[in-house]
Symmetry: C2
Subunit: 412 residues, 2 copies
């Protein structure tokens, strides 16, 4: 008998009929001999509705009370799902974050889970209940409701699976697994049967939307066996697991891309200590997150600093830095919102040299100019002109042999 944590997003519980489908899936898993815990998000549209009510009152809302309002969405969903399962003749019991309890810090609206009490759930499971747990929410030690930030239900599910030492944490999504690249861009993209946590973490960070980054970090930390499955069709999905020798034989496991960022360069700043910190200080003061940062070796006493921000922050960033030119001693600020970041990811890079060279050459052969480069131990990212996104993805997918079937271990 396995203990399985299932997670369903808002779309999967977006209507009465869909709630019944989720109930049927949970019952099916129990009938197959498993102990079943289900985590759900709020019904599709509900969290946006609640956030809308809050923001209609004031843009500068009290965060503690925001959490009280928005956590109600998951509360409705878990009660309805439990009712649906009971109506099918099976025992079900729902729990909110404060009931389980999902203890978090007190950073309202983006709290972090610190501990999960599992005694009550384990006892209920032993008595044959299907347990429904509200995603996205927790409680502080002093009893205030917290939420984990948008998309936090993935994190709830993985944390719960870790706390319950579950055999599997099944994340149901609208795709049937993790792909070697975006199938809308490269029809030859293949489903990956197994992927290691590090690779999935890079993919999540680099724009693959299938799992929330924090949930992958948590899965890695506690070695939770996460499966990404389709909520629409049966299948084996993609298993997140620890790195193994077979994975290391493959140079590159996946190609990710992201066109949601823009590039900004501050020109001719003095090449002296503290300038980079001054520039980034301006941005963090306005809550603008910076992704890639590059500072060239200086020619003389000046240097250029280039970084990427999300497209939504582009204009504000450009304006703020232009205003700050005198205080920074900069000679100019230029920006380009028409960029794409394309990345090759694979734990195999650790033990193989030549991946970067192969990647840059392939792009050069297609006459795609590389504007920025950023690397980690297991990925190489390049920033290019946005119009070459599809061409670059397809080129790299092919040059690293991702088009080809590889049997059960890596390929789908």
């Amino acid at each position: 008998m396995s203990l399985i944590v299932q997670k369903f997003g808002g779309t999967s519980v977006g209507s009465i009929e869909r709630i019944r489908n989720v109930a049927a899936r949970a019952v099916q898993a129990q009938k197959a001999g498993n102990q079943v815990v289900v985590t759900v998000s709020a019904m599709a549209g509900e969290t946006n509705r609640l956030v809308g009510l809050v923001e209609a009152l004031t843009p500068d809302y009290n965060r503690r009370e925001y959490d009280v309002v928005v956590s109600a969405g998951e509360q409705i969903a878990i009660g309805l799902l439990a009712i649906a399962i009971e109506a099918m003749g099976h025992k079900a019991r729902s729990y909110l974050g404060w009931q389980v309890r999902f203890l978090t810090d007190s950073v309202h609206s983006k709290a972090r889970i610190e501990e999960i009490e599992n005694a009550r759930i384990l006892q209920d499971l032993a008595e044959g209940y299907i347990i429904i747990v509200a995603g996205f929410q927790g409680v502080t030690p002093s009893g205030d409701i917290t939420t984990l930030g948008r998309g936090g239900s993935d994190t709830s599910a993985v944390a719960l699976a870790a706390a319950l030492k579950a055999d599997f944490c099944d994340i149901y999504t609208d795709v049937d697994g993790v792909y070697t690249t975006d199938p809308r861009i490269e029809p030859k993209a293949r489903k990956i049967a197994r992927i290691c946590y590090e690779e999935m973490l890079e993919m999540a960070s680099l724009g693959a939307k299938v799992l929330q980054t924090r949930s992958v970090e948590l899965a890695k930390k506690y070695s939770v066996p996460v499966r990404v499955l389709s909520s629409l069709e049966e299948g084996t999905g993609t298993l997140l697991t620890v790195e193994d020798p077979i994975m290391e034989k493959v140079l590159v496991s996946a190609i990710a891309h992201n066109t949601s960022e823009a590039k900004i360069t501050v020109l001719g700043v003095p090449d002296s200590p503290g300038v980079a910190a001054a520039i980034l200080g301006i941005l963090s003061g306005a809550n603008i997150n910076v992704d890639m940062i590059i500072q060239n070796v200086s020619a003389g006493h000046e240097t250029d600093m280039t970084f990427t921000v999300s497209k939504g922050d582009f204009k504000q960033t450009l304006d703020m830095l232009t205003d700050a030119m005198p205080s920074l001693g900069a000679k100019g600020v230029v920006g380009d919102p028409h960029i794409a970041k394309v990345s090759a990811i694979g734990v195999g890079m650790r033990s193989h040299s030549g991946v970067a060279q192969k990647m840059f050459q392939a792009l050069a052969d297609e006459r795609i100019n590389i504007q920025m480069i950023s690397t980690s131990e297991i990925k190489i990212s390049v920033v290019i002109n946005e119009k070459y996104t599809e061409l670059a993805v397809r080129t790299l997918h092919s040059v690293f042999d991702l088009d080809k079937e590889r049997g059960d271990t890596i390929g789908g």
Copy 2:
């Protein structure tokens, strides 16, 4: 400095603009030097929406989970109200039933409050917070969410006022107080400045919808000074208080009416022990509440039994009893949905005789036939043909001198 509990219904928090109005009222009460606790219902329509979702899944839903779903409505309302008050620059903090804690029994969907912990609220009040408490909900000692039944927010407010030993429990409604009768029927109806708990209890039970019966029972039990006030305009409203000598000088304080019931008679049942219990057992088995019950003195070995049920249960009751005729040994079942119950209420009846005679004579003078009579220490109810409702109300309002002003103590 007074401690005031304010209660606002769903209509009063039915939109962002109305939530701001309630926030302004709470702030105004605090600025006037009071400690303020606010209890609110769910936004208008929200509870119905949530109940609708539950009932769309199954008519025979799990009650524990029903409570999880429907209690979310008040959760949204308290968070929004706290945000609105904070946005006005005042300190506010919301609490759910499980946070306060409103301890109840575990009769889900109609739980009764057993105890309210007040330490956290009293401390917050001392620190200058306006406290917002979710109406309608509580928690069992083992940590399951409960709800108090529809309209339970009045009860929450009164219970909270009792637990906090509040100076006033102000119930804001869409009327400006309790009237001697329904002003839509008798334009001469006057607002009552002070009414005792017993009279209000009879009025609530007899169809005056201004306060929920259970909340009046609780106010009586703990002598909570409840004020019924208009949420739309300033005014002194009606104060619920203990009986006093001046009230007793008045024969009748108010005329209530109710046209939501139907009458059923079981004819010719054996006049033997257990027959009444058998008839009522059939109804309670189907969760049908019976109001007035009359059994005539028998002529021979048979008797007739007449009672009233709500109009919504009329047809089912008629069908069930007709089916049960053989087992009951009854000769027939007849019913009439076109009835009205009109009642005269007043603690003065305790010390004055002749009220019933005066009432029956006044109705006879208008040629209104009395079908059933039921009395208590402080009220007399008659069932009449529904078409005479307005005539009976106006006649009794006049005959008991309720049309006339009586100064500050009783009249408005």
